[in-house]
Symmetry: C2
Subunit: 406 residues, 2 copies
């Protein structure tokens, strides 16, 4: 039984539904994760799901991906279960920006029976474009399956109006800001053009969450949003867009708020940051007290990234070119075999977790070594590794990893 004064919120972000949908092996990974998120929400009996953007991987999802996503939302969001959270802010302001037919939160629409509300901002992957400035998530919104909030209505001056939620004695002000080009938002913050509106009465009784989808890591002078830009009164920043799972709330002393970075639920880049286990969190908010319960996603495909330095690992007495190449290949082979054993050991136990892991060897071949045909190398692992075509990535010491677009 859920306590009448306690809000429970499942937080996830960057589901990137439809990622690699045409890949016979990996095509369903993103959907599996979405299903798992819904399942956890149901099992934990949360009041709602909060998504931090990039629900869709493609700005224009394929017909199949959009349809499948709508199927899953229909299955998991529609049904009989009372929603105990009352919204006391102006709902037309909170949700009306995407369609004249959306004037309130979906569970207050008397024509749609919602058992699991979902609230989402948009990310850069599913940002509003084209005629009507619509996001792919607006199809879910107009179907009544999702509550799209935090869409900036101007790019010159941003006023962030919170969704004010009440459950018994607990009051939550939920702020959100859909993805904007980092440089632009950075400048708007610097020019004091970003305002957080606050409830006019008893402002200090509210627990304040801000959901954002921007670069948190500094990529350039203004190509990120410093945490210091976010106002002090916020209690918890939920940071989308960054795919590395740093979901344990980090305390920012200067700002005196927590930052939670859930990370993506599907890896879109074969890098170390994404090879960590993926998680979602359940927030329990009681008055102004918040606790987090971190839950590992168990259907996510395993991923291992290993750095290999050939010069440090291989000793050959009289190296011919052929011998060096063979030795490198044999060594990599051995590493992959070890990682495959490790993967077997470390399976989550979830029956739907895919068997084949993603494996990436970052092979430093400086010091006189030769690269070999990575494609032919991978071919022997076709039946055991999910990405045989690019297991090995050759680099020389000076090179740094570049991660894909989040």
């Amino acid at each position: 039984m859920s306590d009448g004064n306690v809000m429970k919120i499942l937080v996830a972000t960057d589901l990137h539904v439809g990622y690699k949908e045409k890949d016979g092996e990996r095509g369903k990974d993103s959907f599996l994760a979405l299903e798992e998120v819904f399942t956890i929400a149901k099992e934990r009996d949360v009041d709602f799901i909060l998504l931090g953007g990039d629900l869709f991987h493609e700005n224009k999802p394929s017909r199949k991906t959009l349809h499948r996503t709508m199927e899953l939302f229909r299955k998991f969001c529609l049904g009989n279960r009372a929603c105990h959270i009352e919204i006391v802010s102006d709902q037309a302001v909170n949700f009306g920006h995407t369609s004249s037919s959306v004037t309130c939160v979906n569970y207050e629409d008397p024509n749609i029976n919602i058992k699991m509300p979902v609230f989402s901002i948009h990310g850069n992957h599913d940002d509003p474009t084209g005629a009507g400035e619509l996001s792919a998530i607006d199809f879910l919104s107009v179907a009544g399956f999702l509550n799209h909030f935090g869409k900036p209505t101007s790019l010159e001056k941003i006023e962030i109006s919170p969704i004010l939620m009440q459950k018994g004695s607990t009051k939550l002000a939920l702020y959100g800001l859909g993805s904007i080009r980092d440089e632009r938002l950075h400048r708007l913050f610097l020019n004091k053009k970003v305002t957080f509106l606050r409830p006019s009465e008893s402002a200090d009784e509210w627990y304040n969450i801000f959901t954002i989808h921007q670069n948190r890591v500094k990529h350039g002078a203004t190509n990120y949003i410093p945490e210091e830009f976010v106002e002090h009164f916020i209690d918890l920043v939920i940071w989308g867009h960054e795919h590395e799972c740093l979901i344990k709330p980090q305390w920012n002393t200067q700002q005196s708020f927590h930052v939670m970075q859930p990370g993506s639920s599907v890896a879109t880049s074969l890098c170390e940051a994404e090879s960590k286990n993926k998680h979602v969190a359940v927030l329990t908010i009681d008055g102004r007290k918040m606790e987090t319960d971190i839950i590992r996603l168990r259907t996510v495909r395993q991923m291992y990234v290993e750095n290999v330095n050939l010069a440090e690992s291989i000793r050959i007495k009289s190296p011919s070119r052929e011998e060096l190449e063979r030795a490198a290949r044999d060594y990599c082979n051995e590493r992959v075999e070890l990682l495959l054993m490790r993967a077997e050991d470390e399976r989550s136990g979830h029956p739907k977790q895919p068997i084949k892991p993603l494996i990436r060897l970052r092979v430093d071949y400086s010091g006189g070594f030769e690269s070999f045909n990575a494609y032919r190398f991978g071919a022997q692992f076709t039946d055991r590794v999910a990405n045989p075509e690019n297991i090995v990535h050759f680099l020389k010491k000076s090179q740094r990893t570049r991660s894909d677009d989040f």
Copy 2:
């Protein structure tokens, strides 16, 4: 008050929503017609709307068109109003072909409140394609806004399973077949590969409607479906795809059934057939007795197509080339002015009917006349005609009109 034994069905087809959506003048025409169809259905208090295919103009509708269509369906289909038609056939067979999440008619889904059910087959414009064999109307279907029926599950052998509907003492067997390439379907009929399944008991108590979306006009030996292919037991064929409004049921003596061809609700071709008034029909079925009420659509943009023969209309004594050209231009000008006056006289009176008509002069300039710059000619009517760029179409006697793709 609707009689408990009488079914009322609004029939429309070929709405081609999204047609010319980027045209500043004509972009909204197709949406206006969809709204009008919904409004008539509401005013007439019909039990449901039956659509004959080509709801969408594009196989992949633009984001804006799909979103706007969903908005309109949400607005007009969701709400409080009991649906009195009971479906006694296997609904999983009738509707389950497009999604595992669709197992029954939308108004029986306890999670969606339907006030106006819509049933539709798909046309050639919105036919199922790509991964998952999905049609654009399946987005409406998975949202719970529309019941997609009549999708052939095989292209080798077609069994058409009717939706068996009952309202009091009236029984309706609704057969449907989504669009298939004409040559293929023609061959399947010839090879006895198309079967109409019938209720096992009291088959002769049912009123039988068949909804089809194919060429009715013979375009080639097998490039159409002869009415004679349709089984005798059918009482009414509703023929989509042909855009000319021939909505008054035509009696086929040989087959002893009626054929109703509603025609499109938006003109997609500047031809005579499409310039007629557009209509929808309300069928009233009481037992095996059916009556039709034909209703003109009053928001449809007016269209006039006139044949002009310059040699017959213009007399000049000593024709120079310039004089001939000027005379031709003056004459066409006069015709357009007359048609504009006629348009003003013939407005429907609906406040939303667009002011500017579509005008097409088919100018036969054989007999020594000269064509003139049609584009410059049209420019003077920019403020009064919806298609200034192509009012005049020059042809010589031998040429026949070719109509666009329906």
